[in-house]
């Protein structure tokens, strides 16, 4: 099949299937309220087909050349970055959907959950493929809207609604800033096409500098740059666990990719952009780690750790932009993928425990760190998965997280500058600090006596176990065989350097 047709199918399928999933689910529930809702299985089927389409697209596109494709007048382009982001979204999304078959079973409005989740995955895939400002904004907003409703999915829970409102208001502020930025770019260059903007961008243009600042802050809200991160701990901890995995694993990274696409186009206006990315990276690592250190709620702890992991990616990207380093970009994209796997696994494993301890008993309590005591006695698989995930996030070899962080360290050394070395050493120290809150979790789960709440926990089914097994295997395998994905991260790095005009 034609490459561009395959690519367009890959982008369009989740969006097209979303309303079908909703309608069939809704109609079945209305006719036979007591039967199981088919929406979950439909979503699994749609995403599985999309994953096959992804594989075919990548296979047809193996030269790493960007493929252009059209929807009517809208021209889009799939390059390495699109595959990193879209691929993570589809694959993690598929696992999350399988996980949700049991986790969300019987919740009110199940069909909305699956329809929104599929739509969100579709918008992230689309966001990764845009090449003009207006479309980028539309995809970005569509993604935001689907995610608001998913965060506030437990609409009977006040805390969940509060988190949804905070997320909505702060994201809207960010989107307004992005829109203002787009207006400034259009006023300055008369174009919305990113390639064209890059050609006409001149150094020191004040309008474009102001636009860049607006983009950095506007997209920074979604990417959880400090000090725009304050919505994240609430939203990630209050959403259903599968959604927490998606938010942490791909949605905040989608904000980052949107930022990179736009910033690449106007990068000619100043040399400061790379340094700004590095600066935000340092801020994110520091604050995320320090705030996670004293957390007592497991999901909030993981949410703060996401802030610090965005920091690691920013450092890799900043090194790539500032010094033109291929390894910095490849490391950052590799970390994007490994973080999606590890954080996805962490949230799903925590979700499995929450399901066993609370949800199966129709309770919506937050999972506290103390609840994990001795959990290995009753939930060996979920606990093993969570342990592998947090140790990988902390950067212990031979897990995937070590390898991706290591590639960023290597870039810091390749920069041959004292500042870059200081930054990566600081990053390494932050990794050590992060073990200060990851390692006690593992200790707690394996070595403490089980808490009463563990002993009365319910069993978890294969729908929850299967994604945990697959993700655990992936985190270990990518650590032992990190070059398995270098074809993808290298292509994405080349795309990024091309975006910033470094090639």
């Amino acid at each position: 099949m034609d490459v561009s047709l395959l690519t367009s199918l890959w982008v369009a399928l989740p969006l097209l299937s979303s309303p079908v999933i909703y309608l069939i689910g809704r109609l079945t529930v209305r006719r036979t309220p007591h039967k199981a809702n088919p929406a979950g299985w439909l979503a699994v089927a749609a995403l599985a087909i999309d994953a096959i389409l992804l594989a075919l697209t990548v296979d047809a596109n193996n030269k790493g050349i960007a493929t252009a494709f059209k929807f009517g007048d809208v021209v889009m382009r799939a390059d390495g970055i699109s595959f990193v982001l879209g691929g993570s979204a589809v694959l993690l999304g598929l696992l999350v959907t399988i996980f949700s078959l049991q986790y969300m079973a019987g919740e009110e409005g199940e069909e909305k959950y699956y329809a929104l989740l599929t739509a969100m995955i579709g918008t992230i895939v689309g966001l990764g493929c845009t090449r003009d400002l207006f479309n980028l904004w539309v995809w970005f907003e569509a993604m935001a809207i689907t995610s608001y409703m998913l965060v506030a999915f437990y609409r009977e829970q006040p805390a969940s609604l509060e988190a949804g409102i905070k997320y909505l208001v702060q994201s809207a502020v960010g989107s307004t800033l992005v829109l203002l930025g787009i207006a400034l770019v259009f006023a300055s260059t008369g174009s919305l096409d990113l390639d064209h903007i890059m050609l006409v961008t001149q150094s020191g243009s004040t309008l474009l500098l102001a636009a860049g600042a607006l983009f950095l802050i506007g997209f920074g809200v979604k990417a959880a740059l400090v000090p725009m991160h304050t919505w994240l701990p609430d939203a990630h901890s209050m959403a259903p666990s599968g959604i927490s995995a998606m938010l942490s694993g791909v949605v905040i990274e989608a904000g980052l990719v949107a930022l990179l696409r736009v910033m690449g186009a106007i990068s000619g206006s100043s040399l400061a952009w790379g340094w700004l990315l590095l600066g935000f990276g340092l801020l994110n690592m520091t604050l995320g780690n320090l705030l996670a250190l004293r957390q007592t709620q497991v999901k909030r702890l993981l949410a703060f750790s996401s802030i610090s992991h965005v920091g690691y990616m920013l450092v890799g990207l900043g090194l790539a932009v500032t010094y033109g380093l291929h390894d910095g970009a490849a490391g950052a994209f590799f970390h994007l993928i490994t973080h999606a796997l590890m954080k996805g696994l962490a949230f799903l494993a925590v979700g499995a425990l929450m399901y066993g301890l609370y949800l199966a008993n129709h309770k919506h309590d937050a999972l506290m760190v103390d609840d994990l005591n001795g959990a290995s006695k009753r939930y060996p698989l979920a606990v093993f998965g969570l342990s592998i995930a947090v140790l990988g996030l902390g950067g212990l070899p031979p897990l995937a997280g070590f390898m991706s962080k290591w590639q960023i360290f290597v870039a810091g050394a390749e920069a041959q500058s004292t500042a870059a070395l200081v930054i990566v050493i600081y990053m390494a120290l932050n990794s050590v600090l992060s073990l200060g809150y990851y390692a006690p979790l593992v200790n707690r789960m394996y070595r403490k006596e089980p808490s009463p709440v563990i002993l009365t926990g319910k069993r978890i089914g294969w729908q929850i176990s299967l994604p945990l097994v697959l993700l655990t295997a992936a985190v270990i395998l990518l650590g032992v065989y990190p070059t398995a994905l270098s074809w993808l991260t290298d292509t994405a790095a080349t795309s990024l350097l091309a975006l910033f005009g470094a090639i």
Binding site: A210, A213, L216, L271, L291
Partner: protein
Amino acid sequence: MVYAVGAGAIYAAQFHLLSHSIFKALLFLGAGAVIHSVGTRDMRLMGGLGKQMPLVRTVFVIGALALAGIPILNGFWSKELVLEGGLANGPLWMYILMVSGAGLTAFYTCRMVSMVFFGEPRTHLHGHDAGTAMKIALIPLAFGALTSWLLAGPFSHLLGEESLPFHGVHTLTTLHILEEIISIPTLIALLVVALGLLAWWQRGRLGWMAKAFNWLGWSAEHSFGFEAINHAIVNGTQATGEGLRVTQTGQLNWNVMGILIGLLAVLATLIIFGLGA
């Protein structure tokens, strides 16, 4: 060993590594046998254990004598070789430092052996001699500490031609090497070692010296300040994390304020650093 490598005496360094691996393994396993038997690591609580565990005492003394560099144990030969290599190719002040170190080693080894195995028991600790498994490990090592120096010649052959052909290691016979070792500097080193032993024997008269080193004991008891540094770092980090809680107010107004502060900070950065480029 590192001193010898620095002075270019590769063979001496490696030969001392061989001796050291034998006598130090013997000493650690012997110490383990004692700890296993009495249940404490604190030498100040031991004393007079030699009568209760004669075999451990015997092999431990052999190891200790080798460590102190007493003829004719393996530590003596290799340590002399190291010192002579250093004297021949290194600066004199370093040699003096190393020889003094040898004297100090003799002094503390003697102190350790007499505190643990001789004198009167300080507490009611009861030791029993090593079991069969421990004996199987200890006795061959003690034999090695007594005799491994006889392998000096074959060792030079192994090291020189087989492993490090370009490091100037000469293949010599054992007798030749031993002849080379016995020289005037050997006497000097032995004299210093004897001085160390004498110092322990006459320690009662050296009270003024012990007092002069009181500060060293005090700072060692406080782990040279590292424990305090660790505590400060851990507590400081924890307190910062706790203090940063105020930034997560949970109030939407402040959150949006954070976004605006971020925007102003980026604009200010660009105005200061970005325009010139």
